[in-house]
């Protein structure tokens, strides 16, 4: 039996297949479709200090090669998460990371502290949120602010600290380095790409328009995601968790080839609610059938040719 585990510093996973924040709910949403305990880790929806309603109006739209979402961080807030959702994750033995989002460095620190106290072993910082302190730029676009943010969180959180990077920057490398310098255990990449989806129709002499501006995800972002992972891999010595448009084991291999140690599946869950568990099985069979004993062996084969 091949060993699928990921063992890279504090990033400890039973296998490298995770599910991406915002696409997998808080805990049991997909349990009818796949065995959640088989998944490397599910990442919860972004959790904020207070419950949030998110954005108004149409929130998603399909595009030719993916979709746009503008959910706007709707969530139940950390208190209700800890009270209602966390026990279920723990009781069912589901591996997970909590994705947290704050409006200030203090808020991130407070969220992380609460996670630490609740015994949570892995958090992912969503740094694509508007930074209220610094003129509504996102935290994730300025390496100095990001480094300060990660340092502060690092001081209060002892578990595996993952920073989720946004691709909407001039240099993702600088941001990755800032995370590493501040003591992050891993980075994940990429969050959604800024984009707009428009659906036009023309009837009875008039245009009808559906339009959503927000984050672009799905198949169409995979090349940008692979590129980001490759660039990060060149400068980082901490593990990278890759994501963006993963729909198959072959896609997972492309991320491994680019330098990812683990991956997350997002949009694909919507069409294939059983995909995470299925890819774990496929990876296991592939390694088994082809004599790869460990993940590192497989990754080595993918990276060197």
């Amino acid at each position: 039996m091949p060993d699928l585990s990921v063992d890279k510093g504090k990033l400890q996973l039973k296998n490298p297949i995770m599910t991406a924040s915002g696409t997998y709910g808080y805990n049991l949403e997909y349990e009818d479709f796949t065995d959640l305990t088989k998944i490397g880790a599910i990442v919860t929806k972004a959790i904020t200090l207070e419950p949030r309603d998110g954005n108004r109006g149409q929130r998603i739209i399909e595009t030719e090669c993916g979709m746009i979402n503008s959910i706007g961080l709707e969530n139940v807030g950390i208190e209700r998460f800890l009270r209602e959702k966390l026990p279920v994750l723990n009781n069912r033995g589901i591996s997970f990371a909590v994705n947290i989002a704050g409006a200030s460095i203090d808020e991130y620190a407070l969220l992380a502290k609460k996670c630490e106290s609740a015994g949570i072993k892995m958090i992912e910082l969503n740094v694509s949120c508007p930074n209220v302190q610094h003129g509504c730029l996102e935290f994730g676009v300025d390496e100095n602010i990001l480094e300060a943010l990660v340092k502060t969180v690092r001081e209060v959180f002892t578990g595996c600290l993952i920073i989720k990077l946004t691709p909407n920057v001039t240099s993702i490398e600088k941001l990755g380095l800032a995370c590493r310098n501040a003591g992050a255990d891993a980075v994940s990449a990429i969050n959604t790409i800024k984009g707009t989806g428009i659906k036009l129709s023309f009837e009875n002499g008039k245009f009808k328009k559906e339009q959503v501006t927000g984050g672009y995800s799905g198949r169409g972002i995979k090349p940008a995601a692979l590129g980001a992972v490759l660039r990060l891999k060149k400068v980082l010595d901490i593990p990278i968790i890759g994501m963006g448009g993963i729909y198959s084991l072959n896609d997972v291999f492309e991320f491994f080839a680019s330098g990812a140690e683990a991956v997350q599946i997002g949009t694909a869950n919507f069409t294939h609610p059983d995909i995470a568990g299925k890819i774990v099985s496929e990876l296991d069979s592939f390694m088994n059938n082809n004599g790869f004993k460990t993940l590192d062996e497989l990754k080595g084969a993918l990276r060197n040719e």
Binding site: G25, D32, Q58, R59, I71, E74, R219, F270, D274
Partner: protein, 253 residues
Amino acid sequence: MKEFKAKIKYNKKAGKDLYIMDLETPGGVFSKPGQFISILIPDKTLRRPLSILGNTGDGLQLLYKVRGEGTKYLSNLKSGDFINFTGIFGNTFAPGEKNLLIGAGVGLAPVYYLKKELEKKGVTSKLIAGFKTKDEIPEDLITDIDLISTDDGSFGEKGSIAEFTERCIKENTPDTICICGPVIVMKLVSETAAKYNINCQVSMESMMGCSIGACRGCVIKINDNGIIRNAAVCKEGTIFDGNKVFFGGCEHA
């Protein structure tokens, strides 16, 4: 909830750009009026939600209109082909003793299903339906509809179905209205129902991501006893109390 691979028993034209599909679901699936399934369309990023028109025990029926690539794809499928769907999703109607069921366009599907179920149970109901024009009426279902209106008068009464609601309320004195159709029609009917103090249940539409309550892509605003909050159409709905829904906040329907 499950992922189904269903064989198409038939997929027949029922009007202009309108089809009725019968799916073989071996062993049967349990469903209730108002519930829906989500169909996988090859290479598309989102599944396509369709209401259930009927459940014959060993099969589910759908009524759909060709709007874009997804429904076009469905319309080209033949008996014997397979589709992949997930479901069964959503809540169901809570009918009263005397029900007025209203369908507008393909919104007919869930209320038609409801009518059939009520008939089985011997509960009184009247089904009325409105269409833009004659072509849009699914021929096979006509005999089960008590009143049909068309905007252009090409079949049945002339006018919007919303206009006939008041008349039907007076004639039938229902205690409950169940409606599915365009937002504007459901809004008007809800207002009329409120005027007569009749319980009105509306079946909402929204763009769906996951269909299972995980992504919050489909939420609408509802007034939940004075608290204005989000409700996921896919999970808490699709059926809501017409008085509680903010129809304006739902740009997409």
